[in-house]
């Protein structure tokens, strides 16, 4: 089987990209930039490098449309990959080894160098067939998504350079799915991370004084963890729901106290909360405030991270790009499963500036191996994905 793919140029490009160890932390993106510049040249696309933060290049390849004044379509992917525990891999993680079943093994094969190359290969095919699309396509390759995108997409969307790209719609990453369905993400939950400080009178550990920090901490943990359990029940009570549909709460840190026989002045619990897209932010914050008030005097909370509410991208008739996307996938007979992304991707920054974005990685019938050992993508799935993008890009760029 492997031999079958050896002469396939699209597979070869993919493997070449996978071999670049653009792995966190402290990535040197030079090799990625050089590779992408060469791809642009081969395909016949213009290329621009934006360096909003030094050494954090954002590479944008552009294929002008017939009506370049129309809002454009952004095809986004990130160049970085997460670290590996090489000992746990069957094949070296930056080898792009293709086994006899046609599985291409490498870090980034699913998350998400595949998608970046698939965009390019689809455009290559479209260009070679002499097609010109109505809208301009911008293919962006960004750094540091895996560490939160702070020096990548988060900053880039706020620049005038980004505005000048005049983007009307974006595609970004989705996730593999072991079944025949393709998973589509149209939104993300809002990350709220907060510290709840419970204060009370200090005293000797042998007494039972009222209003202690410990009693208040107990109340707070109770409220948050009971809420967590409610959400867990909702999740497991409906087989249609996925983790992205509920609000998750996790107690991730606790600290406080000075000595084991002294009632402390302050105890703190830290929660990582991901607010479901249906949650009203003001109401939820009021609920947390109420819990703190009920816990007693001197219970306050502070945010370490508080993501704003971001509208989900519409997946109905009001979004013409979605209508075109859906029509194209229907014509190909693809089954879609629309979800809210469980974690965070760069799409949230794009949506935050008002641009509709869909997360889609054309990897059905594929085990979910992002961030895992032995991450792989079957070559036939990869190639099928290029065919899908050929139709999909034509559809969304001709809206």
């Amino acid at each position: 089987m492997a031999a079958k793919y050896e002469d396939n140029a699209a597979v070869a490009n993919f493997v070449e990209y996978l071999k670049i160890p653009s792995v966190q932390p402290n990535i040197n993106y030079d090799a990625c930039v050089t590779f992408l510049q060469r791809q642009a040249k081969e395909i016949g696309l213009s290329v621009k490098i934006y360096e909003v933060v030094p050494r954090k290049p954002i590479v944008v390849l552009t294929w002008p449309g017939k009506e370049p004044s129309l809002p454009t379509v952004l095809l986004n992917s990130h160049m970085d990959v997460v670290p590996v525990f090489e000992n746990s891999w069957t094949y070296p993680p930056f080898s792009g080894h293709i086994d006899k079943d046609g599985k291409i093994f490498a870090r980034g094969s699913q998350d998400m160098k595949c998608v970046g190359i698939q965009y390019l290969e689809a455009i290559r095919i479209l260009k070679q067939s002499g097609v010109q699309l109505k809208r301009t396509l911008h293919v962006s390759f960004v750094p540091d998504e895996e560490i939160g995108g702070l020096d990548g997409m988060k900053k880039f969307v706020l620049t005038n350079d980004f505005k000048a790209l005049n983007i009307g719609f974006a595609l970004d990453e989705g996730m593999a799915n072991p079944t025949e369905e393709f998973i589509i993400f149209n939104g993300e939950r809002s990350i709220w991370q907060l510290h709840v400080n419970c204060t009370g009178p200090p005293g000797h550990g042998s007494l039972l004084i009222p209003n202690t920090a410990g009693e208040k901490l107990r109340y707070i943990i109770d409220k948050f963890m009971d809420f967590r359990e409610e959400q867990n029940k909702i999740l497991h009570g409906d087989s249609k729901l996925t983790i992205g549909d509920v609000t998750t709460v996790n107690l991730t840190q606790v600290y406080g106290g000075v000595q084991s026989n002294v009632i402390p002045e302050k105890l703190t619990a830290v929660f990582d909360i991901r607010l479901a897209v249906t949650v009203n932010h003001v109401q939820f914050e009021n609920r947390v405030k109420r819990w703190c008030e009920e816990a007693g005097d001197g219970v306050t909370f502070e945010f370490e991270q508080k993501n704003p509410f971001v509208e989900c991208t519409k997946t109905d008739a009001s979004n013409p790009y979605w209508v075109a996307f859906k029509k194209a996938t229907d014509e190909m007979g693809l089954k879609l499963d629309i979800r809210i992304f469980p974690g965070g991707t760069d799409s949230r920054y794009i949506r935050r500036v008002g641009i509709p974005a869909i997360g889609f990685s054309p990897m059905n019938n594929t085990p979910v191996l992002l961030h895992d050992h032995d991450e792989f993508l079957r070559a036939d799935i990869y190639l099928k994905g290029i065919d899908i993008y050929v139709k999909l890009l034509a559809a969304v760029a001709n809206v």
């Binding site: 550990g205 109770d222 999740l235 107690l251 991730t252």
Partner: protein
């Protein structure tokens, strides 16, 4: 009146002891030892100073009884006192000032140089009167009770020297009573400090994994704090502090990063187990809670005091009965309870020796460790009268 008290040698000796600033930290007990030796000489009793730990003398003054083979009576007191915030005192805390209305001010008047001096004055009085007691009396003056007694009564009670004293009964401190009734302590709660560590599989903070450390911690905190609330209810309904088990969440730690499910979260509790609690059952309950909380929830003791049974007040310990009878004959009510705090008596009881805490101070505002600690001279002198009768009774059992 004031002049009379100032010139009273009984009061003078007490004042002399109070003027020695044997106050924490870093106490030099030298002056206490000199003072006590002088007292022993005046009374005409032998004195032995044991120094199990250098600089931490234990002074034992012995009055041999008519039947020296019988178990002896130990009258124990500590020489150290807790620190003072002098600016809050109406009179300097180490000058033993007597006010016109008869109050003697000083750190240690209540806790517990006053009690130690009652012991000495009682023996002085009995010996001077030519009384002979059946049992041998050992008056013991120990260091460092206020800092836990580790280098004082704890070491002493575990020593061979202590065994040789053949103590059959011990009197130690209780606290002043603001009424006419006396307060006696026959036991203490058991102090234990534990740390419970909840382990879980690390993972991403955006998921709802099962068996997380956070869920386990939630379970544990709930169990302990629910028990605390139940015990607090008893206290609020009038139970004495010494009769309830106290629980306090004192420390928490754990977690590495705000968006990562932690491998470890831990919580520490300070627990004082009331004597009526079955201590083994208590420990089993904690073990069960840990199991119920989930896999890999373990607890360890930071401090684990052994269970020490209360000194029996049901008639099986004759010494208590005679104290009660003696006091009641004087028309005084005496109430016995479990001490809410900790005293050196626990070390004595740990050796199987019955011990009763008894600070004979009625109608006195308890000011142990507080500013303006004081005792009225008449209360002090009446305390000696009561102590004399008690010592006569217990030493002749």
């Amino acid at each position: 009146m004031r002049g009379e008290w100032v010139n009273d040698p009984v009061v003078q000796r007490f004042r002399e002891y109070l003027k020695i600033p044997s106050v924490h930290p870093d106490i030099d007990y030298g002056d206490c030892v000199v003072f006590l030796k002088q007292q022993a000489n005046e009374i005409g009793l032998p004195v032995t100073v044991y120094e199990l730990v250098p600089g931490k003398p234990i002074v034992v003054i012995t009055w041999t009884g008519l039947q020296p083979k019988d178990s002896s009576i130990l009258l124990n007191s500590h020489m150290d006192v807790v620190p003072v915030y002098e600016e809050y005192w109406s009179h300097p805390p180490f000058e033993a000032v007597i006010t016109d209305d008869g109050f003697l001010y000083g750190r240690g008047t209540q806790d517990m140089k006053g009690v130690g001096m009652m012991h000495l004055e009682t023996i002085r009085r009995l010996k001077t009167a030519g009384v002979r007691l059946k049992r041998t009396i050992h008056m013991c003056f120990v260091p460092d009770e206020e800092t836990g007694g580790t280098d004082g009564m704890r070491k002493f009670s575990e020593s061979e020297v202590f065994k040789k004293l053949n103590v059959g009964f011990c009197l130690d401190e209780s606290m002043p009573s603001s009424t006419d009734a006396l307060i006696a302590f026959n036991g203490e709660r058991t102090s234990r400090q534990i740390k419970i560590t909840c382990k879980g599989v690390p993972g991403h903070g955006s998921l709802l994994e099962s068996n997380t450390a956070g869920e386990k911690l939630h379970y544990i905190v709930n169990k302990f704090m629910t028990l605390r609330a139940e015990e607090k209810k008893k206290l609020d309904n009038g139970a004495a502090l010494g009769e309830v088990t106290t629980i306090n969440l004192t420390q928490t730690e754990g977690g590495v990063q705000i968006n990562v499910l932690p491998e470890n979260l831990s919580v520490s509790f300070d627990i004082r187990i009331a004597p009526e609690y079955d201590h083994d059952a208590f420990e089993k309950m904690i073990t069960r809670w840990c199991k119920e909380a989930g896999d890999d929830v373990i607890f360890e003791y930071i401090v684990k005091n052994p269970e020490v049974k209360n000194t029996k007040i049901d008639g099986t310990v004759p010494f208590w009965n005679v104290i009660k009878t003696t006091v009641e004959k004087m028309g005084i009510v005496i109430n016995c309870a479990t001490c809410p705090g900790a005293t050196d008596a626990r070390y004595v009881r740990r050796q199987g020796v019955p011990a009763i805490g008894l600070s004979l101070m009625t109608n006195t505002l308890p000011l142990l460790h507080a500013h303006d600690e004081r005792i009225h001279v008449q209360v002090y002198k009446r305390g000696i009268d009561i102590m004399e009768k008690i010592v006569l009774a217990v030493a002749n059992v």
